[in-house]
Each structure stands twice: as C-alpha cells, then as structure tokens.
C-alpha cells in the first residue's frame, strides 16, 4: 500500500484499536457479545494501517470506528477483527 494512509481519506472514518481491558465494558453497554459484532477483516486496508501504527493486531480484538453520520453527528461503531 506504500505510504498511503487510508484513514486520511474523507470516505474512511477513524479506526482505533480498543484496549483489551475496555472491551468488556463496551460490550456490556451495548448489551451484546463479541461474536455478534460486525466484522472487519484483518487484511482490511484500515486494519493494516492500524497494525503499522501500533504493531500486530490479533484476531478477536475490537476496533472502534468513529463514523460521521448524517443523522447523529458522530456515532461509534465497533467491529471485530477476523481472519477471512
């Protein structure tokens, strides 16, 4: 991918890796379990970008996505990192 930071693109919202000790709290507030979250592939360009920033990301970690929503302003979404 070269030096292209996909998160700089206007269409890509900001992705952040959720620290492992905060995962449970977030899941509880959403009232759901990990495997019911939407998925994101480990090979996704945005995840690859995160890996480049913060080192390897194992499958089963959560990624927080800060979407700019036309109806809510900002909405936070979570995705589970999975291997294809």
């Amino acid at each position: 991918m070269g030096s292209l930071n996909v998160m700089k693109h206007a269409m890509v919202p900001v992705h952040r890796l959720v620290p492992e000790n905060e995962e449970e709290k977030i899941l509880e507030s959403l009232g759901t379990s990990k495997n019911k979250l939407p998925k994101i592939l480990k090979s996704d360009p945005a995840v690859e970008q995160l890996i480049e920033i913060s080192g390897d990301i194992k499958e089963g970690r959560m990624v927080e996505i800060e979407r700019e929503s036309p109806t809510a302003g900002i909405s936070k979404a979570y995705r589970l990192v999975v291997k294809r």
């Binding site: 206007a10 269409m11 939407p38 360009p45 900002i74 294809r84």
Partner: protein, 482 residues
C-alpha cells in the same frame, strides 16, 4: 473452536492442560507459540513453565529471526513518515453554545445525538435565545426525540425495503444521462441502483473524481498535466506508424507537437517499445524517427504486420483502465473526471489529493480503502442515484442496507448470492429463489428450521414474530396454598 484446537495441539506436544488452556484463552494460536521467543513465553507463564513450553513446542526459529530483523528496519522511519502514519483527527470541535447544551443534558440525564445538539446550537445563535431558556428548549427537544424513536422490535428492515422499493418503481428503467459533467456518460436510474446493491465488481460506467492537492487546485496547467498523466496514451495517439516495404521495417514518426503537449520524450517511447513482448528485433533511433528492425529470418510481410499492430497499441503512459480524463472548473477548483477508473494507482500519484479523490465503485473502494470506506460509498452512490431522479428517501434506510452489506467485513450483494442466501431458515431461502435446490439440500443435510422469521411462519400458517406476534404470553398458575 480455534481455542479447542490449540489446546489439543498443545497437549499432544506434551504441555499440561492448565498451561495449554491458559495460552489458548489469551488467543494465541499454535503458530504464535511455536514462533514465540523464550522470553515472551516466560513473561506469559512464569519462568519454569515458560521454559518448559518453549522446549516442547518451539520450532527452530532462525528463519523467523531474519524476518523480524527486516521488520525492524522498516520501523525506523523519519519523523515526517511517522506523522503520515498517525490517526488523523477528523471531527470538528463543538462550539461554545453546544458545549453548554451538552452540560445541561448531562445534568438532566438527556441522551441526545451530537447532530441534534449542534442543530439546536445553530438555531440558538440564529434567534439569539437567552441562556435561561436553554433548559426548556432541551426539554422540548427531548420530548420530541423520544416520541420519534424507533420502538423496540420495530421491523426496520421491512420498512426500509418498502421505503426504497416504492420510489424505485418510479425510476427510469434505462437512461444514460449526463450527470454533472457534460462529456462523461454515467449510468443512472434503476440500472445504477441495481448495480450498487448487487455489489458488482466493475460498474458499467466506472468513473473517478480526482482532486488536485491543495497547493495546485487553482492551477490549470497542473490540472492539464495530471489529466494527461492519468489518461492512457497509446503510440498511435502521438505518432504515425508505417511499414517501409523497401527495407522491411516499421517506421515510427512521432508528432513533436503532441509529444510536447503531453510531456513525452522519444527515449521514453523507445523504452516502452523495447518492453513489449512480441516485438522482435531492435528499436533504433535516427533523428526524429524511430525504426523497428526485425531480425533477418523474420523479415516477412506477416511478421511485419504483427509488429506494427503491437507497436500501435503500445501504452506510452497513463493508468490502465482510464480511457479519458476531463478537466472541469467548478469555480473553486479544478476537478478531473475520468472515464474508467484505477483508484489504487491514482492515489499514489504525485499531484493527486488523497483525501477526497474517489471512484464510483464501492467494490473498488473496498479494495483500496476498506469496509468502512465502502460502506460510506454505498450510502453515497445509492442516495445520489435516488436524488438524481428527484426521489427523496431517508438516509437511515440506505444506511441499514449498507450496514447489512458490509456486516461480515466484506461486501455482500443483496440477493441470492449474498445476504438472502445466508438466511438461517431453509423455508425462507426456498421462498426466495431456486426453491428446489434449497429444499433438496436441506433434506440431504438434515437442516432444522426453528420458524423464527417472517416468511417461514407465513408458509406454515402461523402468526409472524412481529408486532403483536413478537411477544409471548406465559401463564404461571399460582401454587395451591397448602
């Protein structure tokens, strides 16, 4: 499941069960443990056990070492590169009034979306509402907000399908409309909508919108240069190619004006021609013309003909897939629209603004920018197509569609191969398409249908699990008092 496999694999290698479970629970896979260093394992398990596991499981890791070394080299980046890597800050900060409103909301326990608060703040500014009325205003907003919320168990999917489907019937069945740019032909209306929702690999009219970097966005010359760099230029576009029958050679006479305007040098053409497979013989330069001289035994008419065709079609410059690039002056900046698209390579180009240049294909965006980008692209394309036809559909319905399409981390089409084919219920799938195949498969495999969805309950003649059917009544008889 993967955890169980890991535990079993570790036990087979002689690790005791407790340790194996401990490792697996931390989401380590066998491969990770095998390639982990002694130190890492000791850190994870304590000294004695760590060494034990290392001895039993670890593989020779000389290969791994060289790989990690390479990674380290990569990590040494200059400051500028590091800055490129940072997670950008995208959200605009709130104004003073909005901050005040949030404070009041927090005090009263109101939960309002940021957009609503922002809108309220804008309105306050406009009508100059005194500060003591803020609370009342928020209370009223909250009342309305609550009453307009979607109720639990509301069938948002069905409502969404209706809300997109009904206006869809009014869309033009087949139009090729010139949207925005005069010269670029873009598929519109129903065919375009189907394309977006079907997640086609390549849309029927792929297009890119390329912006220039901030510095040069008013620079017509730079825009022209970028446009000519994007567009595929073949040799035949910039030169006359002929066969010299007397000497049995292919003669190329470049048009110097055209070369200059598109910034190509003759040497570059020579290099490109030499790189073409199938052109045998030497490329020679004499003055301002080029010659392809075939080897002695190939000097036949047929091979000359073959060579000239190859030479004519040789790409001199441009990105593959881009047939045309048109510059448009919006008054604020120059934007380049292209027929055909190659986003990945375009974003690597020097003059291209990587922040807002994009393609009209959600799948291409998925490959280059990831799922979330693609989700936004689906929303944008679907909404634009509907609005182009003068149809107003609430974004929320389209957002739901986009969420469903990107739920699994890749793009799934809506339809038999995508989402509808993934339904858990056999009856629901059979009711949709290719009935017999689904029923036959279900019979062979022995599928169980729990009758949880709408379709399958209608088929068996039961009330559906929506609305009043969503709740169940349980009767608990009082225990007779003894």
């Amino acid at each position: 499941m993967a955890q169980k496999d890991t535990i079993n694999a570790l036990i087979r290698r002689g690790v005791d069960e407790d340790t194996a479970t401990k490792l697996a629970e931390k989401n380590y896979l066998l491969g990770d443990i095998q390639s982990a260093s002694k130190k890492e394992l000791i850190k994870e398990l304590g000294k004695k056990k760590g060494e034990d596991v290392y001895k039993k499981v670890s593989k020779g890791k000389k290969k791994k070492k060289s790989r990690t070394k390479k990674k380290k080299d990569k990590k040494k980046k200059t400051k500028k590169e590091l800055k490129e890597l940072e997670i950008p800050d995208k959200i605009a900060p709130l104004g003073d009034i909005a901050k005040k409103l949030i404070e009041i909301c927090d005090e009263k326990g109101h939960e309002l979306p940021r957009k609503t608060i922002q809108d309220a703040a804008d309105k306050i500014k406009e009508i100059e509402l005194p500060e003591e009325d803020y609370e009342l205003m928020l209370d009223l907003i909250m009342d309305r907000f609550e009453s307009r919320r979607v109720d639990p168990m509301e069938s948002v999917g069905i409502v969404g399908a209706q809300s997109i489907g009904e206006p869809g019937t009014q869309m033009t069945m087949k139009t090729f409309h010139y949207a925005g740019v005069a010269e670029v032909n873009v598929t519109q209306g129903l065919p375009r909508m189907i394309e977006v929702v079907d997640a086609r690999k390549v849309p029927s009219t792929p297009m890119m919108e390329v912006h220039l970097i901030e510095e040069f966005k008013h620079d017509r010359e730079k825009a022209k240069r970028l446009a000519s760099d994007l567009e595929v230029t073949n040799l035949i576009d910039v030169a006359d190619v002929e066969i010299d029958m007397a000497d049995k050679e292919v003669v190329i006479k470049p048009d110097m004006k055209k070369l200059k305007s598109s910034n190509i040098e003759i040497e570059h053409i020579m290099d490109q021609l030499k790189g073409v497979r199938g052109i045998k013989g030497d490329v020679e330069k004499s003055g301002k013309t080029l010659k392809i001289v075939l080897p002695e035994d190939e000097k036949k008419y047929a091979s000359l003909h073959e060579t000239i065709e190859l030479a004519k079609g040789t790409k001199i410059k441009g990105l593959d897939g881009i047939n045309r690039a048109i510059i448009r002056d919006t008054g604020e900046e120059f934007i380049i629209y292209t027929e055909g698209s190659n986003l990945k390579e375009a974003l690597q180009m020097e003059l291209v603004n990587i922040e807002n240049s994009s393609s009209n294909s959600p799948v291409e965006i998925y490959n280059v920018l990831g799922v979330e980008g693609s989700r936004n692209s689906i929303i944008k394309e679907a909404l634009d197509t509907l609005n182009e036809q003068g149809l107003e559909v609430d974004v929320r319905h389209i957002m739901l569609v986009a969420d469903m399409m990107t739920n699994e981390g890749d793009i799934k089409a809506i339809g038999r191969h995508g989402i509808s084919g993934k339904k858990t219920s056999v009856l629901a799938r059979a009711a949709f398409e290719i009935t017999s195949t689904h029923l036959l498969r279900a019979a062979i495999v022995g599928e169980v249908d729990k009758l949880e969805g709408v379709t399958e309950n209608i088929i068996v003649g039961q009330p559906i699990t929506q609305g009043t059917g969503a709740i169940e009544v349980k009767y608990m008889p009082k225990k007779p008092e003894a």
